[in-house]
Assembly symmetry: C2
Homo-oligomer: 401 residues x 2
Amino acid sequence: MKIEAVRGGICAVKGVRAYGLKEGNKGLALIEGKGIAVGMFTLNKIKAAPVRFTEQQLENGGGRLSAIIANSGGANSFTGDKGMKNAEKMAELVSASLGVRKAEVAVASTGHIGKQLDMELIERQLGEVVKGLTAEETGSTAAAKAIMTTDTFLKEQAVSINQNDEGDGVAIGGIAKGSGMIFPHLNTATMLCFIYTDASLGAEALRMSLKDAIDNSFNMVVVDGDMSTNDLVLLVSTGKGGEISEEDFKAGLNVVCTELAKQMAQDGEGATKFIAVRVKRAASVEDAREIARAIVRSPLVKCAIFGERLDLTCGRIIATIGSCTTVGEVDPGVISINVKSDKEKEVLAVDKGAFVDLSGVARGILNGKELLIEVDMDVGDVEATAWGCDLTYDYVRINVA
Amino acid sequence: MKIEAVRGGICAVKGVRAYGLKEGNKGLALIEGKGIAVGMFTLNKIKAAPVRFTEQQLENGGGRLSAIIANSGGANSFTGDKGMKNAEKMAELVSASLGVRKAEVAVASTGHIGKQLDMELIERQLGEVVKGLTAEETGSTAAAKAIMTTDTFLKEQAVSINQNDEGDGVAIGGIAKGSGMIFPHLNTATMLCFIYTDASLGAEALRMSLKDAIDNSFNMVVVDGDMSTNDLVLLVSTGKGGEISEEDFKAGLNVVCTELAKQMAQDGEGATKFIAVRVKRAASVEDAREIARAIVRSPLVKCAIFGERLDLTCGRIIATIGSCTTVGEVDPGVISINVKSDKEKEVLAVDKGAFVDLSGVARGILNGKELLIEVDMDVGDVEATAWGCDLTYDYVRINVA
């Protein structure tokens, strides 16, 4: 079995057409692709209208989707009954335009909370987007661009999975948006992400694979610790590709989700550095995940990394490890911290409970754009990785407006 | 019963002498005052040496303290066996200087993590501080200044509690430090805080009163969501004052702790605005506290307030309310948000689930230095208040170094 990154995003998948456009901060994306669909939705107790609507659609529409419509520039969240009517109206418009069942249209929104959508604009934009629908890779790109908000680059990823060299395998492709308000909780989705595959799998296999992949990817990305009312991940299987085992599909889906998750961390609002924190030799996967996430979440750690201060970074990592309340006993005397950078070679900064004297070296190692911080807990044999970014003046600048 | 704010900090309490000095970022404070003592300590699993040492002292010393020594400029945290020896050495030095039992000396430290203390400096500073010990209010002030780190002003508060007009009551006085790395957890202490009283109360009454006061005060302050390895609150009763009921003592202690907590929020690193969030009509006190704390913790809410954007602030408050995982059902249709400022009159920004159209007003109301944000959940009859500050460029500037 061979998993390879390929071009094309969601349009790498047989049976998928997409397009999108953006005017100012208001964009619209449309994806057409029929099949069995599963979704994961924000655990926020205040769910935006499109999230509630799409959850209902998947329940009432028999777990199938024919199209997804997503707008940026308005979250349609905290918008009362009118918000629900507008989400339904978006599905109706798609149903009429594409001749698909209204019950098989998913709706997603992103943007500011509390304002009603501009339905006239959405209707006009939809008319144009429908005309542009294409199975070429430009369709995926246009859709990915249309849903960007504070994102500085579009996020898409596709892989092909082949059992042999004849190339008659399956594809998995996804697009996503998200660079702020990102702090997924376990078992929930995060940001907007639409994934298609031509693998022919049942709803239960899709659901289990998606949950697994999200736990290892989107749930391990932290930008600022806030949780959106609009987070949503959809996975649709068109079934037009070859046969694949559930295990191989999972492996491929993990790659797509992990790459998209890393792209989100790299595009963290105001970020100058991409940080991967790998917690090794933890007592359990839950411990490893909580510690890794807590470290990339800590504002003090993130500021110290922005300031390229290794001593402060390590001190604050230690404090953060200890503050993980659900983690079992922590033995500070055995913890080690190793830092790798894309610019310098690696440095062992903390060696079994003691800070290493790094006079002179201390500053250089954090000077890179990509950092891998390895925390060795030395109490077990499990590891987990979380991704995040530094906390900079630009994070504040972006979020004051 | 009358509770009045009085001058003098810890030196407002009969039987207390204090002094301190600061050289560069290295300070030393010494407080002398004999009596029954209780403490609350950080729940961080990696506890600094002075925290572990002082916990042991209270256990082994029969629950009495004669003196507290506290240094700034070094946390003595993650410092291994040598760190514990240095904490003990600090107690020994005080024991020899003041002629008190070593077992009755508490030790506290604050500063960067991972470095050993400069014991020669501490010994020399102690010699000078002992000479300066005084029962005058200048003693409290000098001690409060000595333990400051990134604090921009010293924190002290005292009250007198009188049963009648004859003034023969009791006093409670405290000093504290803390402006960053502040995010206390329930049932734990936060930052450094030393409180004295001349009220004559037993250890159990002191312990219950302190736990109660901390839940309503320090545990409701959030600056950045990080949790220190060095947090510690000590309460010592000299017993030299008049009689008081436990209930009246609790009321007075609540005032002292709440005022010190608010001073910490006002001095939040880089803060330009002091924010109080009062969650009203919640279903339970736990819900009210969690929601209030989550709102003052959210980086996005804090940035929006720094940017004085009322619409964004309210939208992000809504998202934050929904993200409180331990809170029961939330009904977005009944939530209201009212904002009061020291500069403008109040504004109802969200009215029973809908954003109020505030064109023109929106910016002005957040223009003040002190904001009270009232969130009306309309599901019960319980309230709680949390205190915090905005997230600014200066927070980043302070913490990169």
